[in-house]
């Protein structure tokens, strides 16, 4: 099996070195970059399986880098930032297309665990629902990981896709927040309640005909979310 390639972009040399060393020890193939522009260049040349982005950086900040990456690929992106005053900051990061947002300082072991979880999430193919879903407006092809809305192919990040799949598997049933977190992100994420909120709204923006009045992904207040199949 090919080693997994990870790109670490951080302007603090001490940090990217430490993180790089740890990941290499865990058997990853690591590329380091000292600023946003350099990071973007490295992404295009190396085609990493996972990108770790600091936010505040010279040349180009992490959010921009993430957006650029999202324009061309669905590679999982993990934000690792010191900037996390409020939930808002995290939401901004996730909205830029990141799959994961870690706040510095993070323990190395936890960091590695999150990296592995994110990779697992992005590579996982759910065997249960082979058929996928198609109602004419929205179609989901689980095998090829393709999603079409109104005939147009759309890009979903691995986390968004995984979220849609979990909801689809439980179509018609309310999936509680904690269960959603456990299934999509992993058991260690069950308390990060703002993750689903952000991703659900992103997903709605991509698949709902009118994101303000969703018909597919419905919110059960203070409980969780429910996918409602539409008949045409």
């Amino acid at each position: 099996m090919m080693t997994t390639k990870v790109l670490i972009v951080d302007d603090e040399q001490a940090i990217r070195d430490a993180l790089g060393r740890k990941l290499r020890r865990e058997g990853f193939n690591v590329t380091l970059a000292g600023n946003g522009l350099e990071g973007l260049r490295a992404f295009h040349t190396d085609h990493p399986d996972l990108v770790i982005l600091d936010i505040v950086m010279p040349e180009m900040d992490g959010l921009t880098v993430c957006q650029r990456i999202r324009e061309v690929a669905e590679t999982p992106v993990m934000m690792l930032s010191a900037q996390a005053i409020t939930e808002e900051d995290i939401v901004i990061g996730l909205n830029a297309g990141a799959d994961e947002y870690l706040v510095k300082p993070v323990r190395l072991n936890e960091f590695v665990a999150r990296v592995q979880a994110l990779l697992r999430r992005s590579q996982m193919i759910t065997p249960e629902v082979q058929a996928g879903y198609n109602d004419g407006y929205l179609s989901v092809d689980l095998q090829r990981r393709h999603v079409h809305v109104n005939g147009q192919k759309i890009h979903l990040t691995p986390t968004e896709f995984k979220l849609l799949v979990v909801l689809l598997e439980n179509a018609g049933r309310v999936v509680p927040q904690r269960e959603l977190l456990e299934q999509v992100w992993g058991p260690e994420y069950v308390d990060d309640v703002y993750y689903p909120r952000v991703y659900i709204s992103q997903l709605r923006r991509k698949v709902e005909p009118d994101p303000a009045n969703p018909v597919y992904i419905l919110t059960e207040h203070r409980v969780g979310y429910r996918f409602e199949k539409q008949v045409n």
Partner: protein, 740 residues
């Protein structure tokens, strides 16, 4: 007509006149002392005249000597009585009588009567002769003559000396004529024979009677017009003057003129003292002297609330002097209280010099007429003065307030209940969209944009009702104001006043401070990440080569780095709570508490503490940010566990006064009284011994307080060192209406 006939006619005339006058005087006023003695005099004159008439008539018609004798006896009695009573009367009207006077005079009168009665009983024949033409000639015995002369002489001297004290010249002339006529009759037998005494006394009685009638009956009637005029003058004087001093001076002058007196003094009551406020014809330098109530004539009048007459101040007034030199200078004094609404407001004293006339009842009446007028005038002047002072004060206060309000840079606007502008200072006008003159009375909404008004009007009104003040923020294009609205008027609001404080600069400073704190904290996070990461790598790499000491050192470094991290996180948490907008929603307090207790369960267990949650009833929801509240209660429980070496930590909640009251009770080390007020301060750490100091940042409780404050709650604590601490958090129960 022979002299005898003339004498008879005069005798008869005297008799009739005296009788008529006697009836008239007694009918007019029998209580007056002067009238009583004058009546006595008239009575004596009647006896004397009738004796004379009887004797002469008997002689004329040649009746028996017995009848003549009888007439002469009566004449004797009447004559002595008349001489004595004219003296008494003169003494009374000139006011010279002392305390013993009346007794002596009446005793004298009694003695004379007794003497005459003795003569009558002894039947000593009265020597007389009747001339050929029937004229009666008679003699007095020398004792009687001496007696009569003494009294008549005394009368003449008295009346002449004190002539100024007798009102009405007719009285003086009459009395003198009477006395001189009688004396002439006594001294000269020729005159006696001619009936000079009878003629003189008839005329004198006529003159005296005229005087008395004029003084007692005519004068008051004639005086009415004068009094009315005087009272009207006083009224005019009062209404035309506004200053109290002028009014008082006018009243004093009027009273002096009205009573034909020499001077007047006006006392005003101030608390329990009388103060000389105005004088007329008295030394001005005494104005301002004070007199205690009850002392002096004025003080006595004020206490008794009744007028008072003193005939001779130097002789009769035994109390304190009303003013310096009064005893030397004052003769008759009359004082009247000035009453208004049942209260004495002052005393008016009218004064005669030592040679001045006496005051009588009529004068008292007059003064009593003047009194209420003066009292009203004084009260009016005082009210007017008070009003003028009040007006002055109000004007000054208003001007000052206006200067303050106009000068201040803070916009101030007052509106009435219909939300129309009542007042706006220039700063406020500058904020409104009318640069022209501000139309007071225009609705506020026409002058300011909606965004300047409270966002939640219902909440604002509730605030005003509960706390009488509502505070909210107004943001204009470039400035931020904190607007304090308060109700105007009590108990019912007539409107509202809003004072705006420009907090733009403060806001900016606060923002810079927050930014600074955030930046610093973030900048610290990167080195922290690097240091912690390398320490972890070092731990992994050195596993084989480190000895126990080295591992311990590395653990210490790790602990310190962790602590640093906690401090930074604490600062950022606090900043987040204070700067961020809480995500308000309906929170179930019991869920929040249960979660906090679950979270901290392991920590409590590791210390062997009993951590309990006691909620008996269903708690109503509060409006808040569940995450912030959760963090706050976790901090509280964590803190309790930290400071409790053994025993229990209990979280309880009850509903009280529209609030959910949450208690976090521990059996820990407690907090000393001095430290209690400070525990919610930033970075404050207790002085307790033997605790792992490195594990606290000193920010946990300040975060709790910040969160509670943001939720309009209250936090307090009770603690006994060595026994434990209870922290109380009160959160207002959510008002469903407030959640829009």
């Amino acid at each position: 007509m022979t002299p005898n006939v003339a004498v008879l006619v005069f005798n008869g005339l005297t008799l009739t006149l005296s009788l008529g006058l006697l009836i008239l005087i007694l009918w007019q006023d029998p209580t007056s002392e002067a009238n009583r003695y004058f009546s006595l005099f008239l009575f004596m004159v009647i006896i004397w005249a009738s004796g004379s008439f009887l004797g002469r008539a008997a002689a004329y018609v040649n009746a028996g000597p017995g009848t003549i004798q009888m007439g002469l006896r009566l004449l004797d009695v009447g004559f002595s009585g008349a001489s004595i009573s004219i003296y008494i009367y003169s003494a009374v009207i000139t006011g010279v009588q002392g305390r013993w006077f009346r007794g002596v005079a009446l005793t004298g009168l009694g003695l004379v009567f007794f003497y005459q009665v003795l003569l009558l009983i002894g039947n000593a024949p009265r020597p007389f002769e009747v001339s050929a033409d029937g004229v009666l000639r008679y003699d007095f015995d020398p004792v009687s003559v001496a007696l009569y002369l003494a009294f008549l002489g005394a009368t003449v001297v008295l009346v002449w000396r004190d002539r100024r004290k007798i009102r009405g010249r007719a009285l003086i002339i009459g009395i003198l004529l009477f006395a001189l006529g009688q004396m002439a009759g006594l001294l000269s037998p020729r005159f006696r024979m001619m009936g000079v005494a009878e003629i003189a006394s008839s005329i004198a009685a006529l003159i005296i009677s005229y005087g008395v009638v004029r003084q007692q009956i005519m004068a008051p009637l004639l005086g009415r017009a004068k009094q009315l005029e005087a009272v009207r003058d006083v009224g005019l004087a009062i209404t035309s003057r506004l200053h109290l001093e002028e009014t008082l001076a006018a009243i004093a002058a009027q009273a002096t003129g009205l009573l034909e007196a020499d001077g007047a003094a006006m006392f005003l009551k101030n608390n329990s003292r009388l103060q000389l406020a105005a004088v007329y014809n008295l030394p001005e330098k005494y104005v301002g002297i004070e007199l205690p109530l009850g002392s002096g004539v004025a003080g006595t009048v004020a206490v008794e609330q009744r007028g008072r007459r003193v005939e001779h101040y130097y002789r009769d007034w035994k109390g304190e002097e009303d003013m310096p030199w009064a005893r030397k200078a004052f003769g008759a004094v009359i004082g009247a209280p000035l009453m208004f609404a049942g209260e004495v407001v002052g005393v008016l004293l009218v004064i005669q010099g030592r040679q001045g006339r006496l005051f009588d009842r009529e004068d008292m009446h007059l003064l009593e007429l003047l009194g209420p007028q003066a009292a009203v005038a004084i009260t009016n002047s005082r009210l007017f003065e008070a009003e003028r002072n009040l007006l002055g004060d109000l004007t000054t206060a208003k001007e000052r307030l206006e200067i303050v309000l106009t000068g201040t840079e803070n916009p101030v606007v007052a509106i009435d209940r219909q939300f129309r502008i009542m007042f706006a200072n220039p700063a406020a006008v500058g904020l409104m969209n009318a640069s022209d003159d501000l139309a007071v009375g225009t609705p506020l909404i026409e002058r300011v944009p909606r965004s300047y008004l409270p966002q939640n009007a219902g909440r604002a009104l509730r605030d005003l009702k509960r706390r009488r003040v509502h505070v909210y923020e107004i943001g204009t294009q470039e400035r931020t104001y904190l607007c304090h609205v308060a109700e105007l008027g009590k108990p019912r609001a007539v409107g509202w006043v809003a004072v705006l404080n420009d907090v733009t600069q403060l806001k900016e400073l606060d923002r810079l401070k927050s930014q600074m704190v955030q930046m610093t904290s973030h900048d610290l996070k990167n080195p922290l990440q690097a240091a912690m990461s390398y320490l972890e790598l070092l731990n992994e790499d050195g596993e084989a080569v480190f000895n126990d000491d080295m591992r311990e050192y590395l653990d210490i470094i790790w602990a310190q780095l962790t602590r640093m991290y906690r401090i930074i996180s604490g600062i950022l948490d606090l900043e987040r709570v204070q700067a961020g907008t809480p995500a308000y929603e309906l929170c179930a307090v019991d869920d929040v508490l249960r979660h906090a207790v679950e979270e901290m369960g392991a920590q409590a267990q590791s210390k062997g503490l009993d951590l309990r949650l006691e909620i008996d009833c269903t708690l109503p929801p509060v409006l808040g940010d569940a995450q912030q509240l959760g963090q706050a209660f976790i901090n509280l429980v964590e803190n309790a566990i930290k400071f409790t070496p053994q025993g229990s930590v209990c979280v309880a909640a009850v509903v009280r006064n529209r609030h959910v009251v949450i208690e976090v009770r521990d059996t820990g080390v407690g907090i000393s009284t001095e430290e209690q007020p400070r525990v919610f301060e930033r970075f404050y750490r207790g002085q307790q011994q033997g605790l792992a100091r490195s594990s606290c940042s000193g920010l946990g409780l300040s975060l709790v307080k910040a969160v509670v404050d943001r939720h309009a709650g209250e936090i307090s604590l009770e603690s006994t060192p060595g026994k434990g601490t209870t922290v109380f958090v009160m959160l207002p129960i959510a008002d469903e209406n407030e959640l829009e």
